[in-house]
């Protein structure tokens, strides 16, 4: 019984991953992260992703508050933040988020406030998608491991 469930869940997982790859939401870097997860660090991926979420949300809040400010002019600082975002996104393989960040940075280099606002909205949107999908991924993973008889720590 349990074994069948695990197989079904694994199939679901693979299908979801394939979908995410196909949509360009994730790329191979995510697979690299998965490769680094082994017995010594069984929660590697989830830890990295959690850190990513924390940092990204902080960053997005910063960006929004900066742009909402009428007298905003410190594009350089925003550029630095965006670089960080780009770096972390590419580290976990969030391709679409990263691409939007690159565009955002381009707009910021040109001091284009309207462009930055647009990019920010798009970025928030993409980030939401990513977060939802990754949560879904982890849930399936968790269920699969449960079904396979392995204890897995709950995600926050």
């Amino acid at each position: 019984m349990l074994g069948l469930d695990a197989d079904r869940l694994r199939a679901d997982l693979n299908r979801l991953l394939a979908f995410l790859f196909h949509q360009g939401i994730l790329d191979e870097q995510y697979l690299q992260l998965q490769q680094l997860q082994d017995e010594s660090s069984p929660n590697f991926v989830s830890e990295v992703v959690n850190i990513y979420f924390h940092e990204s949300e902080k960053l997005l809040r910063n960006l929004r508050s900066s742009l909402m400010d009428r007298e905003f002019s410190d594009y350089d600082k925003m550029g630095i933040h965006l670089n960080q975002f780009i770096g972390s996104s590419s580290s976990i393989g969030a391709k679409r988020v990263r691409n939007v960040c690159v565009a955002f940075r381009a707009a910021s280099d040109q001091y284009n406030r309207a462009g930055c606002l647009r990019a920010l909205e798009l970025l928030e949107h993409e980030y939401c998608i990513l977060k939802n999908k990754l949560h879904e991924l982890f849930q399936i993973e968790q269920q699969r491991l449960l079904a396979a008889g392995v204890r897995y720590p709950m995600l926050n």
Partner: protein, 771 residues
Amino acid sequence: MDSCNCIEPQWPPDDLLMKYQYISDFFIALAYFSIPLELIYFVKKSAVFPYRWVLVQFGAFIVLCGATHLINLWTFTMHTRTVAMVMTTAKVFTAVVSCATALMLVHIIPDLLSVKTRELFLKNKAAELDREMGLIRTQEETGRHVRMLTHEIRSTLDRHTILKTTLVELGRTLALEECALWMPTRTGLELQLSYTLRQQNPVGYTVPIHLPVINQVFSSSHAVKISPKCPVARIRPAGKYMPGEVVAVRVPLLHLSNFQINDWPELSTKRYALMVLMLPSDSARQWHVHELELVEVVADQVTKFVALRLLHMFQISMLLKALDLYICIMNQVAVALSHAAILEESMRARDLLMEQNVALDLARREAETAIRARNDFLAVMNHEMRTPMHAIIALSSLLQETELTPEQRLMVETILKSSNLLSTLINDVLDLSRLEDGSLQLDLGTFNLFAVFREVLNLIKPIASVKKLHVSLNLAPDLPEYAIGDEKRLMQTILNVVGNAVKFSKQGSISITAFVAKSELLRDSRTPEFFPVPSDNHFYLRVQVKDSGVGISPQDIPKLFTKFAQTQSTATRNSGGSGLGLAICKRFVNLMEGHIWIESEGLGKGCTAIFMVKLGIPERLNEPKLPFMPKVPTNHGPTAFPGLKVLVMDENGVSRMVTKGLLVHLGCDVTMVSSSEECLRVVSHEHKVVFMDVCVPGMDGYEVAIHINEKFTKRHERPIIVALTGNTDKVTKENCMRVGMDGIILKPVSLDKMRSVLSDLLEHRVLFEAI
């Protein structure tokens, strides 16, 4: 009775004879009166009647006669005298008129008779003409038949059809009972019945050919009447009462063998067929001349057309064959002509080649002679010139050491300078000639690269300081200290280039940079023909010498490396030089599988000389200076680098974690720092590799690298510094190089990439870039 004055008739009134007379008279009168009436009636009806007045006269005569007889009727009975008077008058008149008429008729009757004869004559004539016209019509019809027949003959090819048609047409035209054709047999001794008109399948009657009647027919070209009883005519079933006339005519036969190519075939051949024509029996028809003529014509035509047809066919086929042959011949001729042309061409080419060979031979021998002469000269000069030169230089320098007056010193210095120049010139010439020979070989050996540069610097420093030029040397940190190559010639090259820089600069500074060229930089757009292939045992040394001198105009740049060519500016003339230096350098560099070129933005803007040469990397094992790590085998196991102490500096938490994860997975002992101060605090000589994130556009990463470099003065203690960056543009690369980093890795880093990077780094200590 006397008083009545009557006249008594002569006869008694009731006599029978009187009665008859009375009746006759009455009828006579009647007839006489009716005749003119009739005459008038019919004359009026007729259109033309020339004798009217005759008619009137005659009419009057008749009327009078009638009147007489009428009056006579009254005389049979008792009649008065008046009647008798009238009667007498009438008679008198009648007599007169009849005599007149009688006299008239004498003239008229011959005329009438002659008219009648003419009429008869004309009628005869008309009948005759009718007859003739009928004849002509018949002839014309037969002529038409002949034409049709010939047309039929002409339109068919088949001889049998022709003959059959002929018979049919003839039969129809002439309304023959039977028409037959006798053909000679193969043997030529008999005639065989071949075609008949009525019988569908004639039985094969034969008659011998030499019958007299047949001979008679054959000997004449006309149609000959023959007896119906002769054998050729006896083909009808017997029992006819009266056989019709029979005519036979010869039909000349022609064969292809009669045709000569040049002559028209003669018809005087001896082969004939016999055509027999029989008129219908029991008819009185006879052969008419025109019919015979027709038969002859047809017989002639038949053969002629058959012959013509055959002839035409034959001629056409011959013509076609001739045409084919002609075309064939022409083709052959064309082929032969082209062959001949080719042959002639090849003969000419061969002659030309032979001439060229002879000329080349001569040239070769001359060249060999020249080379031998030159070699002899060089051999002689090499020794003979160097010895006195050496003596002069040596003794002049010795003289310099002694006590001299200022003028003497000046003189000696001049001598020394000049003789040095001369010596250089001689060496250059000799070297160049040997280089051109291809007889020059590099002396490969392991040498200290840094020492070479230092030597060059030492050599050039005095001159430069005299000219107040500042010379700086930058050696890249990744430059290996030892290399395998031709030390002397390399030094010569560097010296030449640097010397040129010094020579052509009046002020300013000269900077010499040397570093290891990487694959991207190797492929310079300015040197598209240079395709260096880096390998494991070699590296490409790139030396750039930049000066702030007079510069070179762009159009002179290509000439720089040509022998004996000098730029035209007067400034250079004073500095002397043979113009061979760069040419020799180019030769050396080429020998070292490299490339040399000069860039200048123009006159007065200084110039940069750049060259790349391939040098070998000496083996490390006998190198005591390298620390710790023996060569790590690049197995792809998860713990490829056990216990390797690594420091990771990254502000970005996520990528820091990822990098740490990667390195932990590879078995390294990872320390993480998130700021440059922390990094500098933590870094120690235990750390072998420092991964530094230089994503930030600020200078943090680079400053750290510089600080680390400063902290660890000795190379072997310093950890390998690798930059982790998201972009690999030129600026970043140059910055990394500038601050002395050992390598750049482009993020994101995969596990395999990290593994290979680490292994490369630890093995070679030199990896400038990994994408």
